[in-house]
């Protein structure tokens, strides 16, 4: 089954609920190695996304993601704003004005999101950033789509890989963002951005079933 604008909005609402639920956990992760604002910032952004969607759901999934992008860019206030904002914006551009998304479109949208994040943040796998979660997620989504899986299964594969990727940041030395100032002292902590990416993808997968 495909994913229309209403379902895309539902997926984002689920993401907002997850962020609200895990707000304290994300901020605590960020307190260990950063500036202790990731949960607060992301929650402020997604609460604004909810408000925007409550005011009216646009007609296509791409337009829904674009609303999320511009809202997150304006409201988040930390690195997650430009990074998630760019991710949703690139995905929205990739999806164009299609009224319904199939598994191929979802995989392509995720790939575009990753490319946007990498272009914006200049991070690569191993730097202990959200790229450590998002890149394996995109690859898993593309494999799942190639295996003929549907939208929900593609997103589930992405969420599983993202969780593994987020966990893989624990032993890493952060090389980007505020945590990079800690050098080796950042070892032993999961990256907050990778963790929020995994949480969001999990909520998207569950809401798309």
């Amino acid at each position: 089954m495909g994913c229309n604008a209403e379902r895309a909005a539902g997926v984002l609402r689920a993401g907002a609920a997850t962020v609200a639920e895990h707000k304290t956990e994300l901020t605590e992760l960020d307190r260990a190695i950063g500036d202790a604002d990731h949960g607060e910032n992301l929650d402020r952004g997604f609460a604004a996304v909810l408000a925007a969607l409550d005011a009216g759901v646009p007609e296509t999934p791409g337009a829904v993601l674009k609303v999320a992008a511009t809202t997150l860019i304006s409201k988040v206030g930390g690195a997650a704003g430009p990074l998630y904002g760019t991710a949703f914006l690139r995905a929205a551009t990739k999806l164009g004005d299609a009224s319904e998304l199939d598994a191929a479109a979802v995989a392509a949208g995720l790939r575009a999101a990753l490319d946007g994040v990498v272009a914006r943040g200049k991070a690569e796998v191993g730097d202990a950033t959200m790229v450590d979660a998002l890149e394996p997620a995109v690859e898993a989504a593309e494999r799942a789509h190639a295996d003929g899986e549907n939208v929900a299964a593609v997103l589930t594969a992405a969420a599983d890989a993202a969780k593994e990727g987020a966990d893989s940041t624990v032993p890493l030395t952060a090389r980007k963002g505020r945590a990079s100032y800690l050098g080796e002292r950042s070892v032993g902590h999961a990256d907050p951005g990778a963790t929020s990416t995994a949480l969001l993808l999990r909520s998207f997968a569950e809401a798309s079933r």
């Binding site: 604002d37 860019i73 997650a80 430009p82």
Partner: protein, 236 residues
């Protein structure tokens, strides 16, 4: 859009930090528009895309805008603000030390430098010790001006603070538009007279005698301007 001088925007996670950097930079460049964009709308720490976009738009001049930032997300927010301008190519986000870069950029903008020159001045503020080292190395090889008109003057500094920030800025500004390569030397150390930080790195004090050398079409004019400024004790 107005103004023939390049405008500056200072993006910071903190409103007070952005305001302070803009204040210090503006002191060196009275005619340059320097807009701070720091902190979140509620006064918290972070970078606010809409505030940055507003500052870039307000500082926009026909000559363009140079945007400086403090850390991480400030750069990404600045990049996004510039990308969303009607004419993104009129603005440039530079990787430079915030305080030194803003001051160097402000002085370069005040001197009528174009967008590329102002951006270069900000970037060069990061490596000013390297610039001084290079100049010293060139001096050690005994390199002399080979062509073009040359001019030279010895100046004993009579002002209280020597070539400190304000006098150095005045000196650099006085010759910013002159077609000549100008050096100020103290002992074995040479400084680029158009660079505030290079001049400051001489740490020339009251009573020191510096040598001004210039080559190029307006070499004599450059030396005359600097001599006149020193004779006025840098307007102290």
């Amino acid at each position: 859009m107005s103004g023939e001088l390049v405008g500056l925007v200072v993006v910071s996670h903190s409103g007070r930090l952005a305001d302070g950097v803009a204040e210090v930079a503006a002191q060196m460049a009275p005619d340059v528009t320097v807009k701070p964009a720091g902190g979140l709308p509620d006064g918290g720490i972070g970078t606010d895309f809409e505030a940055v976009l507003a500052a870039v738009t307000e500082a926009a001049a026909e000559a363009g805008v140079v945007v400086l930032y403090d850390l991480g997300s400030a750069q990404m927010t600045a990049d996004m603000a510039v990308e969303s301008l009607p004419e993104p190519e009129t603005a440039v986000v530079v990787d430079a030390p915030l305080v030194e870069g803003a001051i160097a950029a402000a002085v370069a903008a005040q001197g009528g430098g174009d967008r590329a020159a102002v951006a270069d001045a900000a970037r060069a503020a990061a490596g000013r010790s390297e610039v001084a080292d290079t100049a010293e190395a060139a001096g050690a090889h005994g390199a002399e001006p080979e062509s073009g008109a040359g001019a030279r003057a010895e100046i004993t500094l009579g002002n209280e603070v020597g070539l400190h920030a304000r006098p150095a800025a005045l000196l650099a500004r006085s010759i910013a538009d002159v077609d000549a390569d100008v050096q100020v030397s103290l002992g074995d150390t040479d400084a680029d007279a158009k660079s505030v930080f290079s001049l400051m790195s001489l740490t020339a004090r009251k009573g020191d005698t510096v040598v001004v050398t210039a080559k190029g079409a307006q070499a004599e004019d450059a030396v005359a301007r600097i001599t006149a400024l020193a004779e006025r004790n840098f307007d102290e």
